[in-house]
Symmetry: C2
Amino acid sequence: VVEKMAVSDSLHSISEGLGRACEKAEVILITGGLGPTKDDITKKALAHFFKTGFVFHQETWERIQNIFSRLGINITDAVRNQCFMPQNAHILPNKLGTAPGMWFEEKGKVFVSMPGVPFEMDYLMEYEVIPRLARYFDGTPSCKKTVLISGEGESAIAERLKSFEESLPENVKLAYLPGIGQLRLRLSVFGDDESSSKGELNSFFESMIMHLPVHLIAGINCESLQVAVGDILKKRQLILGTAESCTGGYLAHLITSVPGSSAYFKGSIIAYSNKVKNHNLGVSDETLVQFGAVSEQTAIEMAKGCLEALNVDVAIAVSGIAGPDGGTPDKPVGTIWIAAATKSVRKARLFKLGKDRIRNIQYASALALNFLRLTLEYPEQI
Amino acid sequence: VVEKMAVSDSLHSISEGLGRACEKAEVILITGGLGPTKDDITKKALAHFFKTGFVFHQETWERIQNIFSRLGINITDAVRNQCFMPQNAHILPNKLGTAPGMWFEEKGKVFVSMPGVPFEMDYLMEYEVIPRLARYFDGTPSCKKTVLISGEGESAIAERLKSFEESLPENVKLAYLPGIGQLRLRLSVFGDDESSSKGELNSFFESMIMHLPVHLIAGINCESLQVAVGDILKKRQLILGTAESCTGGYLAHLITSVPGSSAYFKGSIIAYSNKVKNHNLGVSDETLVQFGAVSEQTAIEMAKGCLEALNVDVAIAVSGIAGPDGGTPDKPVGTIWIAAATKSVRKARLFKLGKDRIRNIQYASALALNFLRLTLEYPEQI
């Protein structure tokens, strides 16, 4: 992808955008503006750009008539007008909506126009556009592999990989894809021969991995910490529960955002008040009074209590001050305790985050996932 | 906004993008590429574009040293290099990260460069960039007022407001700001005289409200459903608890994303497995066997059980099939039951959502918030 642009709904802006895209790319993917209303002018702009006229497309007309008769709706003129297509368009049938996609081969380039409705566009990309592009170009331009890192930031990792990066040839690219509490490194090899590119990729990838401490590596070709943690739990056949205070459900949300997470995640007790910490998680009143809700002792008792209350193999607990209020000189906003418990292990660690509430919630949840990963895989590191 | 563009990480692409943007706009907002790694080249591209050199910015250096010493991390050279800034940049301090924003006035235009980390960009836009732009242009002041709607979609509301919208004079604008399960309508009046603009705004706003059924209105100048629900709970001095299955913590996260929510939110039991529904929420085994986990009966027993388990005044429960797996012909993916319970009321309703897991989780959570709002304020509507 050399560029993405979003232009305004005017013939001038669209034509000009097409012209610019045409100068830079071999393939131009266009979405939106194919509907029946007045501001849908993409077809007009394309016909103008290609200096061509319109033809009535009978197959589309029949398909639209079928859809409307099935729904029992009358067809308006605006809808019938959707069947006029630029003369040079090859039509890509849209099974999920009225406006078809269009494929153009002009000026030595490929232009594809798709409806902007996300699921219609997804459908056309997957079943029409990508297969056609693969046939048209008949080649594998690049292969890629990613490593997911957690426990060190972008700049520390960049420092570790400095010499490695400098040694990379022109056709090998390293990209840093930072997320909250995680970093993905993507290595791409560009070349004409697929098998030699793959060999090159694997050898550079291995060399990159050698520069990184093993406990920082959460997964290979793995999207996120929650997926990495899920993989570990599945492999080890362990059932997880969480006990959350300041993260307020966000940790459980990250875990359950992964399809199939019900195989290893049993549930969570969100103890936003001390009464729930005491009554539902069994944190003792003395602990809450003596050390406070945000303390190593409370976090450990929350994790231990979660293990029992939900009857799980592993529990992770978070208690902290997300802000903006609730901070004290001793425990400022951003003070977060994270604890993990299994039947035999109990560990806790203090993290000092910033002042932004949402950021603290998100970051603490990611730190909790990494703490869980280390507890299970590299207990000596915590 | 005349155009958005995303260019690739090369000096050439960035310079060329800046040149094009410069031809079209008076203000060019730029995000990303300010980090410490090798692919962060925005500053270099800006200096090249403006034909200027770099200076070391002492204040930024001191700020970064403070951050790192607080976190107990050593500063790498790459981080120190972040303190070199283009000579013509006015520095916008970034309280939430290491890379500051930059403001340039060149070629008769304003260029603003911000870090790409979303919350840092948000912060800079809100506290540095928008106030500065307002001062710089010193243009026609506007006054604004929003109404938060939940329970009907954008096109249904547009239909209700058709005649109202057509009657609006040139200097009054209505914007639709849709969110998941909510819609904000923003009415803006542009004029030179602040007090007459305010009068005009209030009168048009009142007229707009008259076109909308009262139970659809969740709040005035209110950002989100979770804030609206929090306001109701505070006003009525009610304590809330939630019981979540398919939403997996996202509902509790929405509620606790509001600062001060601990005043009315006590906690949640996330019952991702039937055992937790039974053991921690008291849903009977017979109910689970006879009606299934996704049923009116289970949702009601979850809400009732939550009321008791967490000892709260109001409970809201969600049980459904988020997907992609777990659907059956009777209960396809997207089948969601939502129930609310107080000491005296027990209500439940079925919602049929789509196929996308994350979308279902987010939408079901918003529907639950609105269901809670209606239970408390317009019980006759459910």
